[in-house]
């Protein structure tokens, strides 16, 4: 069992989540049931591919700022994350 080293609480699509400090945001999102971070131009669910910031599949909105690469972002306390796929599948692209 991974020990939480001082947990950090943030919100993902309105739901409060607690993760160990230093957790990568993309890692957190992929670990959820749907695992999707965005909806493609044609309306398909997408999730991280490269894990290192070049594929741009992990773009989510963080604290109101859109198109933030989750894989280049560490989870911070109080962070407010939304994935446009949650909004009825509207293409975010």
């Amino acid at each position: 069992m991974r020990e939480a080293q001082g947990g950090v609480v943030l919100s993902i699509d309105g739901e409060a989540v607690s993760v160990p400090r230093g957790t990568n945001l993309a890692a957190l999102l992929v670990g959820r049931a749907s695992g999707a971070t965005r909806t493609s131009v044609r309306g398909e669910p997408r999730a991280p591919l490269c894990g290192m910031g070049i594929c741009f599949e992990c773009r989510v909105t963080v604290d109101g700022i859109p198109h933030v690469r989750a894989c280049m972002t560490l989870c911070r306390a109080g962070m407010h994350v939304t994935t446009p796929g949650a909004q009825g599948g509207r293409a975010n692209a």
Partner: protein, 447 residues
Amino acid sequence: MRELTCQVAVVGAGPAGLAAAAAATERGADVLVLDENPAVGGQIWRAARGSHGPRRAVQRLRARAAAARFESGVTVVDAWAAPLGLHVVRGTMERDSTACVRAEALVLATGATERFLPFPGWTLPGVLGVGGLQALVKGGLDVRGKRVLVAGSGPLLLAVAASLVKTGAVVVAVLEQAPKRAVLRLGLGLVAWPGKLTQGAQLLTALRGVPLWHSAWVHAVEGEDRVRRVRTKVDGHERTFDVDFVACGFGLVPATQLGELLGCARNGANQGDGLRVDDDLSTSTPRVFAAGEATGIGGVDAALAEGELAGLAAARAALGPPPDGARANADVRALARGRAAVARHRRFAARLERVYALRAELRTLAQDDTLVCRCEDVPLGALRPFDDAREAKLATRCGMGPCQARVCGAALQFILGWEREKPRPPLVPIPFAALAEAGAGEPSART
């Protein structure tokens, strides 16, 4: 705009960049290291805190580079060569933080990206690169008890598979597209590199019980909202696995975009596709050096050797001729040692390249309705009528998305033989606010 000056700027804080920073600092230069990740280590030493070997390696290099400045979480979006300068944008959060870096010499240690080849279902959530899944696991993704298929090509497959086993994942199989005899020959040849031989043996031990097939690859991935099953070709037979993740990557591609913006020449696709460098790791652009995977895929040992040499050479370029004969002699000896080390590691890299050459069948994995451009949802069939990447881009939007053809470009280079387009700034999407900040005194033309 904020201005940062230094004598040697190093872009990338992976093994090559850290080694360059260390060598340049020891040689007496004022060094600034720029890296876009939250922590140093690049890809292979990602989350170095977690593992002993990489952590020690990073610590040793950082100790040698104690006098250097490090800026993490910054991305270089533009660069110019005369005078040498970089436009950097801080991270993804603080949208108004941009800076202009001025340097006397530059070391490009920009690393590599995985090569992704499209196949039916590759866009489903749960299909990642091999390094991609590794990166997320190191970032906290819990894969205990998860079924993972590892596929594609290259030494990364075994390393990541072993790492996944250690973290508790169920690796259902490892599929290497290279033929067994080629990989075996490499194994036998490792006698010349005892360290690597040990590494190899350790990996195979860690993977006891995990089926490892050669001349094997993924045919298609199936699932509704995420991957559920993967169909593979093994020994000429179809095998299907139920999986939670597919980690699939076909080797590494040097990340040369920043070098290309600076006008650096590249080796052809058949000569490794990286930035072309001379014996002292100077690129074709004066005062710009390159080290590590950006010059051609060679692995961590080659990256370290190249970083040391490039850092020394860059420091010499920045500081000017040595003040006395003793220093000059020391330089000559250090350069000679560096060149010999680099040559040795390059020989190994060349062997790897031959062993893991991608087979022709991989060009036919993608069907006409398989998406090639994930950013703009463009299928392969829509691209076939065109002759080059640019024409296809204008007609189909392939390559017009935020990844700026990093994913589809490498795939199309392999599948259709299309040369990748020259990159344009900004190298990654940035807010208009960052573009608005170029002020008076910035050079307006690029060499």
